[in-house]
């Protein structure tokens, strides 16, 4: 009886020791593999002279980093839309004839204001992200809020 108990305590101690060593190892490997958190930053990106977007018009601009944003000048001022599809991250493009954005990945369609009108993004009630547009003198800047790798 006594040896049984001793044996049991011994096996439990060994099992607990091995389990904690395993857990420690797993958490080290997990931390090693898991990417470090990025940092949030805002930056301003030059777009164009304000005169290129007269009131009541809108057009896509190529950003210095190669991305695209559609800038529109409406009654409420300037608005800019990101071309990143909110569904699964493909890039939408503007179709002038239809006057809407198309995402080629799962046939998502967005109207000129960025609201999804058909396809999976519409099912989810999504819309294209709006950037803040800042006017400094005669120049338009986009204010980007992004997470970057460190």
């Amino acid at each position: 009886m006594r040896t049984d108990r001793r044996q049991f305590l011994l096996s439990s101690a060994v099992a607990t020791g091995l389990a904690s060593a395993g857990a420690l190892l797993a958490s080290i490997v997990g931390r090693y593999l898991y990417p470090r958190a990025g940092v949030r930053r805002t930056r301003q990106l030059y777009v164009a002279p304000a005169s290129e977007v007269p009131p009541g018009t809108g057009r896509p601009f190529t950003l210095p980093d190669g991305g695209t944003a559609l800038i529109a000048n409406t009654d409420g001022g300037y608005a800019a839309l990101s071309n990143l599809c909110p569904h699964l991250g493909c890039k939408v493009h503007w179709e002038e004839t239809e006057r809407h954005f198309v995402c080629p990945c799962h046939d998502g369609i967005f109207d000129a204001d960025g609201a999804a009108v058909s396809g999976p993004p519409a099912d989810e009630g999504q819309q294209l992200t709006r950037y803040q547009v800042v006017q400094v003198g005669d120049h338009l800047f986009l204010e980007l809020d992004e997470v970057v790798e460190v």
Partner: protein, 364 residues
């Protein structure tokens, strides 16, 4: 020079066989018995040999894959260029690459057909449930091979495929965010992602597949291949009449399948060599985007349903496939002659086919 104590050296026992037997002391007779599985007669027909085909093709993939790794560079800045060089400059690089690519298509098709044959013949039933589960995992790993391998090329469709898949992972409830970041290796798809996909493709998955395959084959050997009533209605008592030995008959069948595959792969590689499309461009999604044929059904499903539902339903379907033997057991507990499994299987096949064909027609 004096002889030290040891086994007496006689002319016969100095042969290499005796040398080997004493250095590697295994019981050859037992090994022969264990490897010489009695094979049921129906395996004389090729439809029943589909299980061996993916195993042979995996061998082809291991050899050609290691050869590709000699020139492939797993870095977002050079991956595409290295595949281009492999295809256009390295002697026979196009050939090795094309064989690897075609064998991947055939391997995936063979695994799917093999799973179907096991399903529709009910060969997953007790006591073989565990081996069915290993089979479902093998299918999942094989699809994973196809996905990661295609991503390595780093052409436009590779890049956008990975982007969509990583964002899809994010949509998994609770753990999705962590999994997505783990796959990307950072905030967005880039060099870290490519390295991870490469390691999965040439390290983790080959190891996993080898282990699963070893377990799969061991269980097949321990249980024997399911014998069917059609071949011995009155259960001939004599095993010898119902089966034939693995060596040399079945081994010969596999050799013939292997030769046939080698011929088919060579023809396909020469007539339809692997091509290289445009290089990945994170700034622009191409107008026509589609995955490989074996993911057409998921792609169509994503277009038809909302994101969360798509993710949950695909995950749930996979889970059902995994535990199917137990569901089937419940159904048959009420009615042992129940054909429910055949109907469920037929519906699943039709749904997958319709989604696949729909996508194929839409994208062509």
């Amino acid at each position: 020079m004096t002889m030290t104590a040891g086994p007496a050296v006689t002319p016969e026992s100095s042969s290499w066989a005796t040398w080997l037997a004493s250095r590697v002391p295994i019981d050859l007779e037992a090994l022969r018995h264990f490897s010489n599985e009695p094979v049921p007669n129906h395996l004389k027909y090729w439809w029943w040999c589909l299980g061996g085909t993916p195993a042979l093709l995996f061998g082809v993939q291991a050899v050609t894959g290691i050869l590709l790794t000699v020139y492939y560079i797993p870095d977002a800045g050079s991956a595409y260029e290295s595949v281009d060089r492999l295809t256009t400059v390295i002697p026979f690089g196009w050939f090795i690459r094309s064989i690897h690519r075609w064998a991947s298509h055939l391997m995936i098709a063979a695994v799917i057909l093999h799973v179907m044959r096991v399903f529709f013949t009910g060969a997953y039933r007790a006591p073989r449930e565990l081996n069915w589960m290993l089979g479902v995992l093998l299918l999942a790993v094989t699809l994973g091979f196809g996905f990661t391998g295609y991503s390595l090329v780093w052409e436009q469709l590779s890049y956008w495929g990975v982007t969509v898949a990583a964002n899809l992972t994010d949509a998994v409830p609770v753990v999705g965010g962590v999994m997505g970041r783990m796959l990307r290796g950072g905030e967005s798809v880039g060099s870290n992602t490519l390295t991870r996909l490469f390691i999965l493709h040439i390290g983790v998955m080959p190891t996993l597949l080898t282990l699963l395959l070893a377990g799969h084959i061991l269980l097949i050997r321990l249980h024997g291949v399911t014998e069917f009533e059609f071949e011995s209605p009155d259960k001939a008592p004599d095993e010898a009449a119902r089966t034939y030995p693995f060596f040399p008959h079945h081994a010969m069948t596999e050799v013939i399948i292997g030769v046939g595959l080698a011929f088919a792969l060579t023809c396909l590689a020469v007539i339809f060599p692997a091509e290289l499309a445009e290089k990945a461009n994170p700034l622009e999604t191409p107008a026509h985007i589609k995955p490989e044929w074996y993911f057409f059904w998921t792609f169509r499903w994503l277009k038809l349903t909302s994101l969360t539902f798509a993710v949950l339903s695909i995950g749930f379907a996979g889970f059902l496939a995994l535990i199917w033997p137990y569901i089937d057991e419940r159904l048959r507990r009420r009615n042992t002659a129940s054909e429910a499994s055949v109907y469920v299987g037929a519906v699943a096949v039709v749904v997958l086919l319709v989604l696949t064909i729909w996508e194929a027609m839409a994208s062509s």
